[in-house]
């Protein structure tokens, strides 16, 4: 191989050079909006403007927008806390639900199993917001809207999550059943097999499930805006910040939206990057098995 013809070598170098140029271009395109977002969040509200402008670099560096978020007349941290609480509880319950359903469907053969899977598949083909009004009134009957929107949103977040068992069940299917049988011969019952043996073996898929569950409430706009309708104490960050951009006088609130966006994005992004490995494993497995 060392004696490759010179033309060939040059050809290879050229193609690599082109590849690098393309990759750098791609990186710029992909990072550009994020860089803009961060830069604009540092624009001064007083000296320049809080709205949209036709230049990128702020003329003076200032923390006005961040100061506003931390000030008393802004409920940003309440909204932030709301979202975190929702995400936290949804993560716990959703992970338990998905693991339970996946174990039952992967390991046990019970009457109506096939029927149930087919029924859930069909139910999944209906658009989720179809049931929005109905859910709203159901929650309202129990006082879980407006003031009570946080528990209401937690409930909506995880209640039907059992239907999303595909990836996790696919993973359980790959763990040999002979392990279960061995444990059962040693006297363990199903519950013990599940909690003592299977769960420790499923760390990657549990992390994946939890990560996906945790990220979803940070983007939830539809149900959050509907259930918390008009009651700003119950907003989550998506609802609140979207109002800043669209319905409020966004000329004043645009940089504040940028600052809020940065504060939301940083922890989520760091968390995601740390657990990226598990995420990739989960989506790849899910994609191949369908």
């Amino acid at each position: 191989m060392a004696k490759e013809p010179k033309v060939h070598m040059q050809h290879k170098k050229l193609s690599n050079a082109i590849a690098y140029v393309v990759l750098i271009l791609i990186s710029i395109i992909w990072l550009f909006p994020f860089v803009c977002l961060v830069l604009q969040s540092f624009r001064s509200y007083i000296l320049e403007s809080g709205g949209m402008v036709n230049y990128l670099l702020p003329k003076t560096f200032s923390l006005d927008s961040y100061k506003f978020l931390f000030s008393k007349d802004c409920q940003f941290f309440r909204w932030y806390g709301n979202t975190f609480i929702i995400a936290f509880f949804v993560t716990i319950f959703q992970t338990i639900f998905i693991l339970s359903v996946s174990y039952a469907l992967s390991r046990m053969r019970f009457k109506g199993r096939e029927l149930l899977m087919r029924l859930w598949l069909v139910l999944g083909m209906f658009p989720g917001f179809l049931s929005m009004i109905c859910l709203y009134f159901l929650l309202k009957e129990f006082g879980l809207t407006q003031e009570g929107a946080i528990p209401g949103l937690i409930l909506i977040g995880f209640a039907s999550s059992g239907m999303g068992y595909y990836v996790c069940k696919g993973y359980f299917d790959t763990i040999p059943k002979s392990l279960d049988e061995a444990a059962r011969i040693d006297g363990a019952n199903r519950a013990q097999v599940f909690t003592i043996m299977l769960i420790p073996l499923s760390k990657p898929i549990i992390i994946y499930t939890a990560l996906v569950a945790f990220m979803a409430p940070w983007c939830d706009y539809i149900f959050a805006s509907y259930v918390a309708f008009g009651y700003s104490d119950s907003y989550n960050v998506a609802v609140a910040l979207r109002r800043w951009v669209w319905t409020n006088d966004y000329q004043g609130y645009f940089t504040r939206f940028c600052a809020g966006g940065v504060l939301v994005a940083i922890p989520i992004t760091i968390l995601f990057m740390c657990l990226q490995k598990y995420y990739v494993e989960g989506v790849t497995g899910g994609a191949v098995k369908g």
Partner: protein
């Protein structure tokens, strides 16, 4: 017996069902006639037999279920159920003495009516189980076997019946939060529930198929034209959003996987940023970048390339192209992640031998990489396609379906997908009946595409291929 031809198709299923039903009823009959007095009482008081046979847990469970059911029906169920054919007759008005009379609430009548019907069916099933339990209990005692004790019953919930323990809550959740609302909304599609018939102040009622007729009527007030236009755009969008993302994502994955490229992890991490950052931040921001007073127009004008702002979001065609392009920004990293792992699974010697045969990279891609990837990711492409049909976030956060037009009814805009239209119909127009109809249409489109594609997918037909 084997000479009997089995009736096939739907007719066969119907006759099969009636045969099963007949056998089942006969079994209930013999259980009653041949059963002892405990069993006979159990037909009326559920769980009586098991209680008398010292299976306290089972007996108590049956008895409690019966009490709960009777309480529910007496307290709510019957009241709502009797009105379900009319959805209420007396609207809100004033009593002769001047106080407000609240009248009927059509919404609650429909909701609890549907719930009651389902509960009655479930109760019948539980009652049947109760009869069966008695039959088995009697049989076992007759044969001199010991019945499982309450403790054994309880322990079985952690062992052979562990599935029931695990599935109970998730199934309840799906039932209450998905199934019941969907059945309710399907019913709404056959009523006139809209802004003019808002419960609780006004009544709404059954109208048959007139909403569906409205959806397919092409007059000036009908939804026909708008529906067709939105449906076509939804399909076009889903097609481009799926396949452009797929091929470009694969191309990027191949580029990063290329031999001799360094910092592979860095490139991937940069792309993955769009998955990590919550979409409402990134998409709202990108949407604003392309606004008339946004960054892109601002710079283009400053540099003198254009004299007036490009109407990215105001022009229907531009807006449609732009959402597809921005969706690339969102979707490519996702496909890239999936493809990266899969590309490494392709045996290296396939490429080596192709190289020896003198194949160039493009030929190798078409002959080796692409068939393999299409085969492996077939189900993924299908879920992506149906997911894109319902891709609410990208459209809603970027354009909210705008630009709006007078040519479209029901508040639809040119970038509206069926789902975003459904959302608007529910929230802005409060036209629940048409929202329900559109929801059913979305279901039909998704189901038809899934069924058709699923049946032609090679990886479903031939599970062993490529292995």
């Amino acid at each position: 017996m084997s000479k009997d031809k089995k009736p096939s198709g739907a007719a066969g299923k119907v006759t099969g069902f009636f045969k099963w039903l007949g056998a089942d009823l006969a079994d209930i009959g013999t259980t009653f006639t041949k059963g002892d007095w405990k069993t006979k009482v159990s037909f009326l008081i559920m769980g009586f037999g098991p209680l008398m046979r010292k299976q306290f847990l089972r007996g108590a469970a049956f008895l409690l279920l019966e009490i709960a059911f009777i309480y529910y029906m007496a307290a709510f169920g019957i009241g709502y159920l009797k009105d379900i054919t009319t959805l209420g007759t007396s609207g809100r008005g004033f009593n002769p003495d001047g106080t407000v009379s609240y009248g009927d609430n059509s919404f609650l009548i429909l909701l609890f009516g549907v719930l009651s019907i389902i509960l009655i069916l479930l109760f019948l099933y539980v009652w049947r189980l109760n009869v069966y339990q008695n039959k088995i209990g009697e049989q076992m005692l007759r044969e001199g076997k010991k019945l499982p004790s309450s403790k054994q019953d309880f322990m079985s919930l952690l062992d052979e019946n562990f599935d029931k323990t695990l599935m109970a809550l998730p199934m309840l959740g799906v039932f209450l939060f998905v199934m019941l609302p969907i059945i309710f909304m399907i019913c709404v599609a056959f009523t006139n529930y809209d802004a003019n018939h808002q419960a609780p102040a006004k009544l709404f009622t059954w109208v048959g198929f007139s909403n569906f007729a409205n959806l397919f009527s092409f007059g000036s007030t009908g939804f026909g034209k708008t529906f067709v236009s939105v449906l076509i755009w939804t399909l076009v969008w889903a097609f481009f959003a799926t396949f452009l993302n797929y091929f470009l994502g694969m191309a990027v994955a191949i580029l990063i996987n290329k031999k001799g490229i360094k910092f592979k992890k860095l490139w991937r991490t940069i792309l993955v940023m769009t998955i990590a950052v919550p979409q409402f931040v990134s998409l709202l921001y990108v949407g604003k970048m392309f606004a008339a007073d946004g960054l892109i127009n601002g710079y283009l004008m400053k540099w003198g390339l254009i004299s007036s702002a490009i109407p990215f979001w105001e022009n229907a065609t531009l807006a449609r192209i732009l959402v597809i392009i921005i969706n690339l920004w969102v979707g490519i990293p996702y496909v890239m992640l999936i493809c990266t792992g899969l590309l490494m699974n392709i045996p290296e010697d396939l490429y080596e031998s192709a190289k020896i045969d003198g194949a160039n990279p493009i030929q190798m891609f078409i002959k080796i990489t692409l068939p393999y990837m299409l085969f492996v990711t077939g189900p993924f492409l299908l879920t992506q396609f149906t997911g894109n049909l319902n891709n609410f976030n990208v459209i809603f956060l970027l354009t909210t379906g705008k630009p709006q037009s007078m040519n479209l009814t029901g508040g639809a805009g040119y970038t509206d997908l069926l789902v975003t239209w459904l959302y608007k119909m529910t929230l802005d127009q409060t036209d629940y009946k048409m929202a329900a109809v559109i929801g059913i249409m979305v279901f039909i489109v998704t189901a038809v595409i899934s069924l058709v594609v699923y049946n032609v997918l090679p990886s479903v037909k031939d599970e062993e291929g490529f292995q």
